[in-house]
Every structure is written in C-alpha cells, then in structure tokens.
Symmetry: C2
Subunit: 204 residues, 2 copies
C-alpha cells in the first residue's frame, strides 16, 4: 500500500499518519496483552497511543476493526522466512520462530484474542482465516525450494506440510497446557518431514 | 461415583438426582449451543431443564462449575475407543469419531466454550486440560495394543501419537475454517502413522 492517503481499511501508512498508525497498533497490542480483548476500549488505546479517540474512529471505524488490523500487522511481521538451503534447517527456523513469538505474553494474549467468541465477531473470524492464509502463503517457498532441490517428494503439498508443522504447536498452546519450547518445535519438524516422505501430505 | 448423596463437585449421579443431573447437563449443552457461553444464565438452564434454579446452585455452586461439568460429561462419552485388531482401522475410527462429534453444532459450540477467555475463567482452563488428558488416557490402549502386535515401533509414545493424530483436526476446526471431514480424519491418520514409523514420536 503506497498511497499517501489514509485508507479506511488499514489506517494511514506513510509519514505522520504512518507514525500515528504504528503508535495506535502498538498501543492496541499492549492493551490486548494487559487487559484482554473483552475489556479493550478505544479510549484506553487512544490514551496509551497519545492520540484523540476520534482519530482512531476516523481511521478504523470500530474497535473490532482496530483489533483486526493490530493482529494482522503483528502476525504479518513476526516470523521471518528462512532460506538456508536445507529443508530441515528451514523448517526448524520456522517452527522455532513460531514458538518464540507465540509464547511471549503478547503472543499468548493475541492467541486468546483470535480465539474469542468469533461467532459473535465475524470480522475477527474472517481476519483469523486471512492471517493464517497469509502466513502459509509467505512460507510456501520454503517447501517449493525443498521439492526443487529434491529433498521432498514432488507430490508434497506446501500448505499441507506447513499445517502439519504448526498444528502440534498450536494444539499444545491452545488445549493441553504443556510446555511449548524448541523441543516441541523440532519434534513438529520431524513429524512433518516423516509425513512428507511417506507421501501423506499430497497435493489434491 | 456410586454414592446416593449429591456430590458438590459433580452433582448427584443416581436415582431421581441422576435424572435431574442428566436433564440439567443436557439443558446446559443446549443453552451453550443456542446462546453461547457468554450469554448463558442459570435461570435459562433451570427453565429448560424444568428444575428450580436453587437446585442448580445447590449442586453446582456457580454457572462456571455447571458449564465445566457439562463439558466434562459430554466429552467423556462422545468418542468410543475402538479395538479392531489393526492400528490403522482403530486410528481411523478414533479420528472419524472426533470429526463427527466436533462438527455438530453442539460440538462447535462446546469448542467455542472451551476456547473462551480462559485467563478470566481458570476453572474452564483447568477442566479443558483435564478433559484432554482424560481423552488421551482413554485412547492410549489403542496405541499400546498396536505396539504389542508389532504394528508400531516400540519407542512410540501413545500420548504423542494421539496428539499428532488430533492436532491437524483441531487446527482446522479452530484456525483455518477449512472443511473438516473424513478425508481430514484419514489424512491425519496417515501423518501420525508415518511419524510413528519414522520414530518421530518417541517416549521421553
């Protein structure tokens, strides 16, 4: 988005507007972390960001729109895409980065937010789907390159492999309350690679 | 629990009390399905179950206690443990039963409830952990029998295999919004078995 005009969907992105946007989104993440989605108010975000609340309403319309944008911004920038030349190293880097970002207090708070009663907030449900699609799309070259190098079977579906990689990590984060650490990440890599080599993650 | 006395933790379990308990828990599940956890009231449950609300408070103390008991009751009885003599058939039966129960409107509502802001309701967080532990413990003999028959490596950890089995199913249910069906279940089985055969699910 290179326009100099504020965009209604995402807030302004350049110059003074860009700094305002960054401050508001950061304040939103902090508010989500400290007080949670249910108790979040535009007033509190505005105060923390040092802007007037009408500025927020003008750019984001609703608090749900603000939260959705803050989540999208956070999740679009927290995991770098590796290219080490070896699939196992690339997947370990991805899985470990996911574990690192999701086990911070902000990561846990944002996960809780994304899991809020999305039946009541369709905008959050939609942004959650879009966030995961975007994350997978950005990471798919890791699998494509491994297939090109002959490290993985040619029938490997990149999206399926990436879902096999992250599912055990999210499952532990959300449901079991077990420790989630680098061992969790590395095991998830072993499971995903074994599945790919056994042709259990084929393209449709 | 064979006592004829109502138990404060779980409500009464035999005779007239048992019928009352079944009616109240069923009413709670229906209320969770139709109106959701955030809007659930003991009044509405009492009316639907045909009991006085003081009966509910006497047996469950709080609405969170009631919800926790209803979830525990539902999740303890919805997936039968198979014993076909073949690990692939057993795991398919488990995974397909999980998909079947979690894709009903009640299943989705209960999943949403379990994912509610558990930071604010520690009782729900605790019951969620206990539910998953219980589910895995009941299914572990499926893996133990497969190891005894020589179908799986002796280093296979039953809990790790079962988590590898269900994680891709829950991941899709909770995060991606993709269809979840028997194909999802059967693929999850292929992934879990490939991982076990590659020794990627070892006992600690």
């Amino acid at each position: 988005m290179k326009s100099a005009e504020p965009t209604p969907q995402r807030g302004p992105t350049v110059g003074r507007g860009s700094r305002m946007r960054a401050a508001v989104l950061a304040a939103t993440i902090t508010e989500l972390t400290e007080t949670g989605y249910a108790a979040l108010t535009v007033d509190a975000v505005a105060q923390r960001a040092g802007v007037h609340k009408t500025t927020i309403y003008r750019n984001w319309k609703t608090s749900d729109g603000l939260v959705a944008d803050a989540l999208a911004h956070h999740f679009a920038t927290d995991i770098p895409i590796p290219d080490t030349g070896a699939v196992k190293d690339d997947l370990r880097a991805l899985a470990r980065a996911l574990v690192a970002t999701m086990t911070t207090s902000a990561g846990r708070a944002l996960l809780t937010t994304a899991l809020s009663d999305t039946a009541r907030t369709p905008q959050l449900a939609e942004i959650k789907r879009a966030l995961f699609e975007d994350r997978f799309r950005r990471a798919e070259p890791v699998v494509d390159r491994a297939v090109e190098r002959g490290e993985l079977p040619t029938d490997t579906d990149p999206g399926e492999l990436l879902k096999a990689l992250v599912a055990p990590i999210y499952f532990r984060l959300v449901f079991t309350g077990e420790p989630v650490d680098e061992t969790t990440a590395d095991r998830a890599v072993d499971v995903a690679l074994a599945a790919a080599h056994a042709h259990a993650l084929p393209t449709p």
